[in-house]
Amino acid sequence: MRLLELKNISKTYGSKKNKKYTALKNISFDVESGDFMGIMGASGSGKTTLLNIIGSIDMQTSGSVVVNGIDVSDLSKKQLAAHRRENIGFIFQDYNLLDSMTIEENIVLPLALSGEKAKVIKDKLNALADDLKIKDILPKFPYEVSGGEKQRASACRALITEPKIILADEPTGNLDTASGKQLLNMLEYINQNYKTTILMVTHDIFAASYCHNILFIKDGEIYNHLHSKGDRQEFFNSILNVMSALGGTEK
C-alpha cells in the first residue's frame, strides 16, 4: 500500500531575488507502508529540508505531499498541527525533549495535547515503556539521563500516538556506537512489530544498513535509490560504493 507520495517537491529559501537558494529540486518518490527508508547525502544536500517538508514542519515551494491519499497542503493550520501530532512521529538529533518535564510527561505530551483520556494515556505509556524497556527513566528529567536514553525516550514519544510514519533526523548523530546500536535495534523492532513506516536521515553507513532502501540526495536532487536484498553486510558494502561515488568520505 502506498502511504506517502512526493510529487515534484522543490524548496527555495530566501525571498529576495538575488539571495534565493534552491535546497530541493523536483523531488518525487513514493514510500510504501511498513517501509524503513534511509536518506543519505552530503552536508547541506537538503536532507533535513526534505524531512521537514514530509513532516509538514516546513512548507515546500512547489509540488505536493500526499499522505494516505490526502494532500497535506489542503489542510488548515489547525488540522496540520493535529496531523503532525497524530500521523507523524519525529525523532530529532537533539532529542527535542522539554527540559521542564519529566521523561514520562514528555512521552505522553502528544497524547495529552490530542485530548486523550488520562486512563488511556497511562495504559498506552505503560505498555510502550515496558515494551521498549525504558520504565526506569520515566520519572527523571531530561538533564538527568544520558543521550542514548533521551533518544530512546524521544522514540517512545514518537511512537505513542501510533503514527503511520516516524521521521528520524540523524537519530544516532549524538550517540556513541553502543547506544546508537541500541536505538537502531529499537527502531527495527518498532518497524517490525508496530508496522510503522520509518524514514531516517543518517550519515552513518552502519545505521543506514538497517534500512530496507536508501535514497541518496545530491545538491537537492535524487542521485540514487538503493534497495537492500536482505543481507545487511552486502547492503553495507553497496552503500559504501554509492557513497564513494558520491564523493562523500563519511566513514
Binding site: 496540520l80 527540559d99 521542564s100 510527561e105 538533564y143
Partner: protein, 657 residues
C-alpha cells in the same frame, strides 16, 4: 570612548525593552519630586492652618518611597541584565572583559536614569500646580490663588536622592556581571533548574500562619487586635513567603500526581512550565503579594477614613456647636450670627448639669484609672437624656432605662471589658448598671454619663446623691445648637469662635466645623499619600513581574520551539502561554486582596466600628468603600498583565528584535 557610544547604541537598540523600566522610573521620580514640592510649597503652608505636621508626613513617606524604589530598581536591573544575557555573552565572547561590560552597563543606567530624572521632574513641575490644588481640595483647605512655582530645593533633593540610588543600582549591576562566567552566560538559555517538588511542611506551616493571623485579625475585641497587630503582620508576611517558597510547588506537585487533572491537553505543558520556574518566581511572587496587600490596604483605609469623615463628624458630635455656661446674651449673639450668614438654628437644647459619685463595683479599670478617686459622672434622668438625644444630630438613640437599673454612656472600648456586671452603690442602695456605647459629648468633661430611670433619678436627687456642684464648683448649663450648613460655613465657625472664646462665663465649648476640618485635613492627607504610594507600589510590583517574566521568557523560547516541532497549533500555544502567565500574576493578587480584606476587618474593629454608626454591620460599609479601591487596583494590574503577556508572546515566538 567606544564604551560610551556602544552604551548609547545599546539603549537605542533596546528602546522597547527599556520602555517599561523607563516609565516606572519616571513615575518614581515624579512622585518623589511631587512629595518634596508639596512639603516645601508656600501655598500649602499658608493654606493648611491646622496643627497637623503635614511637612514631616510628606518627607517621611517620601523616604519610604525612595527606599522601596531603590530595592525595586536594583531588582529590576538584575532581571534586565539576566534578560540580556545573550547580548552580554556576545561581548564577552569577543573578548570584552567583565569590568568593561559592567562599566558599559553602568553608563547605560546613568544615561537612562538621567533621562528619567529630567522627564520625571519636568512632569512633576508641569503637574505641580494641579497637585497642590488636588491636595488642598482633598484636605478641604481654603483654595486661594495657587500660583505656579518651581521649587529649586525640591529639584535638588530629588536629583541628589536619585543620583545616589543610581550609583547603588549600578554597583549592584557590576557585581552581577562580575559573578558571571562566560560558560554561565551561554548556559543562560537552558539552565537546568533543580527539580522542585515543594514541601508539604512549608505548605502546612504557611497555611497555619496565615489562618492564625486571620483569626487574630478578626477578633471582636479591639484590644486583642491592637495588641497582636505586629504579630499578625509578621505572620501574614512569613506565611505568604513560605507559601511561594514551597507551598505553591507542593500544590503544583499534587496536581501533577493526579493524572486525570494533569494530563488534560495543554494543562500538562503549562503546569510543568510553571512548576519548573516556581522557585525562580518565589521571591518575586511573595514580594508582589505583600506589596499588593499593603498598597490595597493603604488605599482602602485612606478612602474609607476620608469617606466616613463627614458622617463621623456628625455622628460623634451630637451638636454643631455646644457650650457650657453663658447666658441669654450669648444665645442672642449666636442667633444673630446665624441669621447674618444665611443659616438658621435647627435644634436647640438647654439643660442643667448634674454629677453623681457612686461607689462602683466591677468597674472597668480604665474608668477608675481615668477618673481617679473622685469618680464623678455626669448624670441625667432618662427623660432629660432623651430630650437631648431628640435635639441632637439624627442618629443618637433614645434610651429606655428600667427602674432599679442604670445605663453608663461610655463610647468606645466597652466591649473589651470582661468584668462582672457593674453595680452602682449609694449607701445601701445598689443599682445594676450596664455600659452602652452612647456618645458622651454632653458630659462636661467627665468620662462617662450615667442615665437613671426618672424615678430613681428623683430619689437620688432627693437623697442628695445627685449634685449640681462638683467639689464646690457650681456646674453650668449645657447648651447645644444645630444649625443649617454647619459643615460648609467657615464664617459662622469663625464668628462662633469669636463669641465663645472671649467670654469668661463660658466653661468650654466645641464647634463641629473645626473638628471636621481638622479630621478632613488629616484624612485627606492620608488618603492623598495613600493613593500616591499605592500607585508607586503598583507600578513597581508590576514592573518587577514584567522584568522577571520576560527574563524567564527568553529562557523558555526553546521549550516553545520544541512544542511547535511536536505539533501544537496557535490556539494551543496561546492557551499554554495564558495558563503559564496568569498564575504568576493573579495568585499574588488574590492573596494580597484577601490579606487586605482581613486587614480591613481588623481596622474596622479598631477604628471604623467606632466611626461609622450603622444599624447593621460597619464592616459591610468598610468593604463597600474598600472594594472601589480593590477594583481600581485590579483593573490597573490587569492592564499590566496584558502588556506583559503580549511581550512574552513576542519573545517566545521569536518575533523579538
Amino acid at each position: 570612548m567606544k564604551l560610551t557610544s556602544l552604551a548609547i547604541s545599546n539603549i537605542k537598540h533596546n528602546m522597547k525593552n527599556y520602555a517599561m523600566y523607563f516609565f516606572s522610573m519616571c513615575f518614581s521620580v515624579f512622585t518623589t519630586y511631587s512629595f518634596a514640592n508639596l512639603a516645601l510649597s508656600e501655598t500649602i503652608s499658608e493654606s493648611i492652618q491646622s496643627s497637623i505636621k503635614y511637612k514631616n508626613t510628606f518627607i517621611g513617606f517620601g523616604i519610604v518611597i525612595l527606599i522601596f524604589v531603590m530595592f525595586f530598581l536594583i531588582s529590576s536591573n538584575k532581571s534586565f541584565i539576566r534578560y540580556r544575557k545573550r547580548e552580554i555573552s556576545t561581548y564577552a565572547l569577543f573578548g570584552m572583559e567583565n569590568g568593561k561590560i559592567g562599566r558599559m552597563l553602568f553608563f547605560e543606567t546613568l544615561v537612562i536614569g538621567a533621562a528619567a530624572l529630567i522627564i520625571g521632574i519636568a512632569i512633576g513641575i508641569f503637574f505641580s500646580k494641579l497637585m497642590v490644588m488636588i491636595l488642598l481640595k482633598m484636605v478641604l483647605a481654603e483654595v486661594a490663588e495657587v500660583s505656579f512655582a518651581i521649587e529649586w530645593n525640591a529639584i535638588l533633593m530629588t536629583s541628589a536622592a536619585y543620583f545616589i540610588i543610581y550609583c547603588i543600582m549600578g554597583l549592584s549591576g557590576l557585581r552581577v556581571i562580575n559573578k558571571f562566567q562566560l560558560v554561565d552566560l551561554f548556559k543562560g538559555d537552558k539552565i537546568a533548574e533543580k527539580r522542585t517538588k515543594g514541601s508539604i511542611a512549608l505548605l502546612i506551616i504557611s497555611a497555619i500562619l496565615i489562618i492564625v493571623a486571620y483569626r487574630l485579625a478578626i477578633d471582636k475585641h479591639s484590644y486583642i487586635v491592637v495588641m497582636n497587630m505586629f504579630l499578625v503582620i509578621g505572620m501574614t508576611i512569613a506565611g505568604t513567603y513560605l507559601f511561594f517558597f514551597g507551598g505553591l510547588q507542593k500544590l503544583l506537585d499534587i496536581v501533577k500526581k493526579n493524572k486525570n487533572i494533569f494530563y488534560k491537553k495543554t494543562r500538562l505543558v503549562s503546569v510543568s512550565l510553571l512548576s519548573h520556574k516556581a522557585k525562580t518566581f518565589a521571591a518575586t511572587m511573595g514580594t508582589i503579594a505583600v506589596l499588593i496587600a499593603s498598597s490595597t490596604t493603604a488605599m482602602a483605609f485612606g478612602y474609607t477614613l476620608y469617606k466616613s469623615a463627614e458622617n463621623n463628624a456628625k455622628e460623634l458630635n451630637s451638636f454643631d456647636v455646644y457650650y457650657y455656661g453663658g447666658d441669654e446674651t450669648i444665645e442672642n449673639e449666636i442667633y444673630e450670627l446665624l441669621e447674618k450668614n444665611g443659616s438658621e438654628p435647627l435644634d436647640f437644647i438647654k439643660v442643667e448639669q448634674y454629677v453623681t459619685k457612686p461607689e462602683g463595683e466591677n468597674f472597668p479599670e480604665s474608668i477608675i484609672w481615668l477618673s481617679g478617686d473622685s469618680l464623678a459622672f455626669s448624670t441625667y434622668s432618662q427623660s432629660t437624656f432623651n430630650k437631648i438625644s431628640e435635639a441632637s444630630q439624627d442618629s443618637n438613640p433614645m434610651v429606655d432605662v428600667k427602674e432599679g437599673t442604670a445605663l453608663i454612656a461610655y463610647p468606645g472600648y466597652y466591649a473589651d471589658f470582661e468584668h462582672g456586671e457593674p453595680v452602682l452603690k449609694y449607701g445601701d442602695i445598689s443599682i445594676k448598671a450596664e455600659f452602652e456605647p452612647l456618645p458622651n459629648t454632653y458630659s462636661n468633661g467627665s468620662y462617662a454619663t450615667i442615665i437613671f430611670n426618672d424615678k430613681d433619678y428623683e430619689m437620688l436627687n432627693r437623697l442628695g446623691y445627685v449634685k449640681s456642684n462638683d467639689n464646690g464648683r457650681e456646674l453650668s448649663e449645657f447648651i447645644g445648637i444645630n444649625y443649617k450648613n454647619s459643615l460648609y460655613s467657615k464664617e459662622i465657625a469663625a464668628g462662633l469662635n469669636e463669641i465663645l472664646r472671649s467670654n469668661e462665663t463660658i466653661n468650654g465649648y466645641h464647634i463641629l466645623y473645626d473638628t471636621y476640618i481638622e479630621s478632613m485635613t488629616l484624612f485627606g492627607l492620608l488618603c492623598f499619600i495613600g493613593y500616591f504610594i499605592s500607585a508607586v507600589f503598583i507600578l513597581m510590583s508590576v514592573s518587577l513581574l514584567y522584568f522577571k517574566q520576560i527574563a524567564i521568557g527568553t529562557e523558555e523560547i526553546s521549550q516553545y520551539e520544541s512544542l511547535r516541532r511536536i505539533g501544537i497549533d496557535k490556539d494551543q500555544e496561546n492557551k499554554i502561554i495564558t495558563n503559564r502567565i496568569w498564575p504568576v500574576f493573579f495568585i499574588p493578587l488574590v492573596m494580597g486582596l484577601i490579606h487586605s480584606v482581613f486587614a480591613m476587618k481588623g481596622a474596622d474593629t479598631i477604628l471604623f466600628s467606632n466611626m461609622i454608626y450603622t444599624d447593621g454591620n460597619s464592616y459591610l460599609e468598610v468593604l463597600k468603600t474598600s472594594s472601589v479601591m480593590y477594583i481600581i487596583y485590579s483593573l490597573v494590574y490587569f492592564v499590566f498583565y496584558l502588556i506583559t503577556k503580549y511581550k512574552y508572546i513576542r519573545i517566545v515566538s521569536n518575533k523579538q528584535n
